[in-house]
Each structure stands twice: as C-alpha cells, then as structure tokens.
C-alpha cells in the first residue's frame, strides 16, 4: 500500500506540472526591437489655400517657410510637390490617406490663408498623421499683420514640430549677433538681430565702436553687451524695441565684460577686471551696487546661470589651465566639472538644465561640445580651425556658434548643429558674423 500511495502522489504531482508547462507555451509572441533607423520623417507641405485674392501672395510663401523650418532641423524631409498624387483644393476637403501613403508621406500639413481689408492676415493649418489615418491635434489659426507673415509661418512650423517630436519648437525666435565688416586687422563691428534663419536683419548699433558678446534677456526685449565706446570695455544694456542703450552702473575705473542675464531678468552676472585680476560679480540691471562672487588671483570669466538661477557655470584658470566650474549663484566654493584634455571655455547652460555647452581647444583644433552639468558624458559635436561661442536654441535641441576660417581672408560665420552632432548648417547672414545669442521663443 505504501508503494501505491507513492505512485498516486507522483501522478498527482505530474498532473499539477502539466498545466504549468503548458502555460509557458501560451501567451502572445514576444519580440524586442532594439535597433531602429535614424532618418528624416517624410512630410508633405502642399501650398496653402488662398481663401481670397489678397492672400494669394502669402499662401505659397508661408508653406515654403514652414517646409524650410522643418527640413532645416534635419528631422524632416519634404516630399517634392511634383510627387503628390492628391491635391488640396480646399481647407475643408478630406485628404486621401492612401494617396499620401503611396508616396511615403508620413505627415501632411494643410492650411489656408485669408487676408482682410485692414491689412491683417489669418493663417490656419491642420496636421495629419498619414499612417494613423487621423488628424494629429486640432486645427489652429494665427492672426497678425501682413508684415508678420513669416512669424506666423514660424509659429505653424513650431506647432507641427512640437506635435510630431514631442519637443518645443524654436522657429519663432530671433538671434542677436555681431555683424562684422572690413579687413581682418581693422574689423568694424555692430550689433544685429535677425530671425533664427537669418531673415529680417535689423542693426541695433553703428560700427563706431567695437561691440562684443551680446546676450538676450529672458523675455527677449533687452540685450546686454560689451562696448568699447568709452575706450575700455563696459557693459551696456539695450532695449531692442527702442534701440535705446545705457551703460550699467558699474565702477568707471574698471573693465567690465562678459555679461549675462539671470532668469529673473534683473540680475546680471559679469566679469570685472581691476588691477589686472578678473573676478565674477553680480548686480541689478537697474543699479544698486555690485556683489563679488569670486575672489582669486586667477582669471574668472564667461559666467552663466542655470535655468533655475541657483547656480553659475564659468571658466577659470585657477588650476593652471582654462577649465569649467560650477558654483552657487550667490558665490561659494566652485566645483570643477571639466577634466578632459585641452582647454575649456564659454560655458552655457541648456534651457532644459541638463547639459552645458562649451568651447574646447585641444591639439590645435577647436570644438563645440556638450557635457552633463556634473561634467560627465562629454561629447564633441564639431571640429574646425576655430569654433567658439555656443548658444542654445529655446528648446535645448540645437546649438548655434561662430566658425572662423583660416588665413588673412578668413571670416567668421554662424553655424548651427543638433546636439546629436548631426545637421551642421551655416546660417545665412549678409556678411561675416560672430557671437550669436539665441532669444527665447517670441510671445
């Protein structure tokens, strides 16, 4: 009987094991995809519909600016219009998804423009996800004066970019820069401001004195810069709307330079040289005294705030070579964050707060690079004879900088690059340009 019990128990155990074994074989097929492709998303931007004759001149131009914005990111590829099977005849017409799938369009932007008698125009658009057979987000419209049609195109492109990538756009923004002219040994410099893509240039100063390192305020309505109009470098603030400028209330016997706004739009951090020694100071843009942030015999310069205003990144040669440091905004013990080969300078905190862009000089080459705020994961994005002065796009995805060319005829120009290191592009300017600073998104 004992043997019988043992055999019965074994059979019961076997019976219990059978469902478990079968369970392992049940359920859906599971696979893991770990390697995709990196290619621009094919997008179609048909000519916008002109809803009245007065809007005719803007309909195609707006669509072209939108397409140029999107393809300029390197993340999108515009499908040539002559490949279209369907044509958009009305803003309210249904798009034939199969027609757009046939030409591999993955997104389609349709829109319409109407012009009122008072000189105002209205731009509206829709975005369609072709392979989802659905509209992506709601339709949206923008209104403004006819003269601001490029801004409305940029706003549509920002919305399309944001809906597809999940990141904020940066097209409706401006860049202040130093426009240069004349021979290399007697260069004339003046401040200019332009759309992010180089259009709509306006000059803010004349070329009577050297100007350097303009920096936008967080609201984009003012610019800090360094000018030699008094004979020595001094920090000025300029109102972009009125082009009125004034020197900050700083000690006259000192040299002040490398200013940058804090996120509150009031605090200004800058370098001050007195007795041959440069240290970092802070002040209010409207006056009220200065606060010393560093006190060392070394050279401290190029300060910049973190987005939350709690910390300052700057460059210093206190270790014997030019390196990057981070310290509390009110001053205090700095922490060195750069330890690679070569010299580091001009650090700028990303608007997202996660990266710091910098200029690096190593083995006779200049690089634009990014690193984590603790100095880890350093990546060099560019390399050339002279790359320097990075500035972040409002969404923290793109960096603009100055690239200089070698030789007596060498001239500086503005370039942009994605933080992945792809999509290096030259920004078109009328002439030589340097020291770009990106504005926040316009309101």
């Amino acid at each position: 009987m004992r043997l019988l019990k043992a055999l019965t128990l074994a059979i019961l155990c076997l019976g219990a094991a059978i469902p478990a074994t079968a369970q392992e074989r049940s359920g859906p097929l599971r696979i893991e995809i770990t390697e995709g492709v990196i290619e621009p998303l094919p997008i179609a931007v048909p000519t916008f519909i002109a809803e009245n004759p007065a809007a005719q001149e803007y309909a195609d131009a707006i669509a072209r600016v939108i397409a140029a914005d999107l393809t300029g990111t390197g993340l999108f590829r515009e499908i040539p219009r002559d490949a279209f099977i369907s044509r958009i005849t009305s803003f309210d017409s249904t798009i034939q998804y199969s027609d757009w799938k046939a030409i591999n369009a993955q997104a389609v932007v349709t829109g319409a423009v109407s012009a009122a008698g008072d000189g105002r125009i209205t731009v509206k658009f829709r975005l369609f996800d072709v392979f989802a057979d659905a509209q992506l987000g709601d339709g949206l419209q923008f209104g403004g004066s006819a003269g601001s049609w490029r801004r409305m195109a940029h706003k549509v492109a920002d919305a399309v970019y944001s809906r597809i990538t999940g990141e904020g756009g940066y097209f409706d923004s401006r860049v202040v820069f130093v426009a240069e002219s004349g021979p290399k040994d007697a260069r004339l410099k003046r401040l200019g401001v332009m759309d992010y893509d180089g259009a709509n240039v306006q000059y803010l100063t004349d070329s009577s004195s050297i100007v350097l390192a303009p920096r936008f305020s967080p609201t984009g309505d003012r610019v800090l810069y360094t000018s030699y109009e008094t004979g020595s470098p001094r920090v000025f603030v300029l109102d972009v709307g009125t082009v009125q400028r004034r020197a900050l209330d700083l000690p006259a016997e000192t040299m002040t330079f490398a200013p940058r706004f804090g996120p509150d739009g009031q605090t200004v951090v800058f370098s001050l040289t007195e007795g041959g020694n440069s240290d970092l100071y802070a002040t209010n843009v409207n006056g009220g005294g200065i606060q010393r942030l560093t006190s060392t015999p070394s050279i401290e310069t190029a300060p910049g705030f973190s987005p939350d205003g709690s910390r300052i990144v700057f460059e210093s040669d206190r270790s014997g070579t030019q390196q990057l440091y981070v310290m509390p905004a009110a001053g205090g013990e700095p922490t060195r964050i750069s330890f690679g080969q070569g010299r580091y300078g001009t650090p700028v905190w990303s608007p997202r707060g996660d990266l710091i862009a910098f200029t690096k000089q190593n083995e006779g080459r200049f690089h634009i690079g990014v690193m984590r705020v603790d100095g880890s994961e350093e990546r060099l994005l560019t390399a050339s004879f002279l790359d320097e002065g990075p500035t972040w796009a409002p969404n923290g995805r793109v960096i603009m900088f100055t690239r200089g060319t070698q030789g007596a005829g060498g001239e500086p120009a503005l370039y942009s690059v994605d933080i992945s290191g792809r999509n290096l592009r030259r920004v078109q300017t009328e002439g030589p340009a340097s020291d770009p600073a990106w504005s926040p998104l316009l309101q």
């Binding site: 799938k101 601001s148 290096l424």
Partner: protein, 372 residues
Amino acid sequence: MTPNTGTYVSGIGHGILILWALIGGFFLRANDPLPLQSTEVSLMSSEEFAALSLPDASPDVPTEALEVVAPEPEEAAPEIAPTVEAAPEVLEPAPALEPEPEPEPAPAIDVPDDAPILPDPPSEQASTAEPTIPEAEAQPEQAPRVAPIPAPAPEPDAEISETVTPEVVPDAEPEPEVEVVVEEAPATAPQEATTEIVTEAEKPSAPTESVRPKSRPKPQTRVAETPPPETPIVPADAVADAVASALAETTFAAAPAPAPAAPTGPPLTGGEKDALRVAVQQCWNVGSLSTDALQTTVVVSVNMSRDARPETGSIRMLSFEGGSEASAGQAYEAARRAIIRCGANGYDLPAEKFAQWQTIEMTFNPEKMRIK
C-alpha cells in the same frame, strides 16, 4: 477471488506506462533543446539564405548613410539643391492607387475663435546704421556638412518602398501563344538610413580607412547550397509538434474564424523571430523622436491577420517605462508607424504557425539609439 500483490503491481505499472505514453511528451519537450535547430533547418531554403546574404538586403548597413552624415567640413560639398523653391508645382489629379472604400469625413474644424493674435514684429528700428532688410525669402544656407538624408527625392529610377523589388519590364519578345501581360513596374528599394550618430568631431577630416562592412544582425542558420537530404533530421518531439500543427490546421479549416485562446503548434524558430524583428526595425524611425522619447521603452500589442498584415485598429500600447506619458505617446506613435509601414505588404511569417503569431507583443527599446 482476490487479486494478489503481484496483480496490483502489474496493474499500477501498466497504468503508469499508459500515462507516460500519453503525457510524457510534455516533459521531454520542455527539456529538449533541439527544436530550434531542427526547425530552422527545415525552414531555411538556399534562396532565403542567399537573399539574407545579399548586402543590399541587410537592414543594418549604415555605411552609406554615414557618408552623408559627416562629410568633411572643409570640402566644398555641393549644397542641397533648393528643391523646395525650385520644384514646380505639378498637381495632377492622378487617380488614387487605392480608392478609399469609406472616405474619411472632413474633420471638424476646431479653430478656436480666440486664437492667439500675433503682436506686430518689432518695428523697423531707426538704428544709427542703415537698416538693411534682406529678401523676405532668405533661407539658411546649407552647410558643407548636411543632414543625414538630404536627398529630397528618391532615385529617379527607383521608387521608395519598404521592400526591395526587382524591376519588372515587359518581355521584349513575349511568347506568342501565351498572352501574359506583364505590367511594367519600376524598381524599388528601401531608403537609406543610419543607425548611428557620428558627430563632426568624432569623424576625422579625411578618411583614414576604408568602410568596413558591418556584420549581419544575427547569426542565421547556414544551409548548404545542395538540396536538403531525403531524410531530414527529425527531433525527438517533432512528431508531436507535427501532430499538434495538423490538429491546429484541421481546426482552422473547420472553423476559420475563431482563434485559439492559447497558441498551439510549433513555436516560431529563432530565425523566424529574427526575420520579424529585422523587418519591423527597418521602419522604426527614431530620428524625429525627442530626447525624452528616446529614453522611453514601450510595449505594443498588435493582432495580425492571416496574410501576416497588422490589424491597424488592434495596435495599442500595453505599458511604457523610463519616460513621461507624453514621451511614451511619441514613442508609441513611432512604434505604431513602424508596425504599419513595414507590415503593409505582410510580414514574412509562416502561415502554418498563425496561432503563434496571431497576437504579437513588441517591446521597442531605444537604448541603443539614444544620443550619447
């Protein structure tokens, strides 16, 4: 007459033998490592192997795209042709390739009445210098080093397609007695794409070595060019699998509509799974994903039809990890597009194993694709 102990033992022993014959296969199958090897041999033909060996068919060949990614900055690379500006608008009302059975109703215009009104741009400043306004259509000049895929249009002799399709041309001299109408079709080829991000700084200014071909994605079962042997290698549980497969087919033939609750029949081989994985990742484009979305892993479920096409309406996100809901949404959309695009013509899945791949859970893990 009462049976003695010998009768009990004999009866129990026979009972165990019968049970073992009925259910013993489960244990053998659970521990037997052979099925993967044997099934691959039976399914991999020489043509398929040759197709897998074709360099153009490899989906993981970034070399050409990398050439585009990082041309030398000093080179006077040709600028991208301004196709945007120059392309003539030819909007011919060509007939749709596939007439829409049910045209989508026009989406309701949801244009808010209180749409944001743009303020006027900063007025033309009376700068001390002469304000110079450039042409309204000034566009950024293309840098010597350009976007990864700058080509605005496909090759003139090849249309974009997810699969490689050889060019088909009508026979010059068709057989007179056989009226075969061969529709002329252009050659198609998948678009070039890269799977790596190489920055300008990492790429030397001049080529220092020739391009090294990349290894194939996964080791495939190598099948000799010679015909398979008359008697294939049969694993221990192949008979049981074959019986289960035959039973499954019989069930489908009798009642094609209902689906089994749990997959039955032989599982997909490693090679078959790899083929599906490679097919999907060809269309998984992470180039337009945000950095946050590139931190997000999503698990997506899809039901398949018998012709191995994904049922679009069944695609849904089961879970995500590593990002916000917004970034998961972006990652899911990219995954969804990949499944639909590359499955438009049906995936290469064995029809006899439909029960195994009727529902698929795909985990899209972008860890290797992140910006580093």
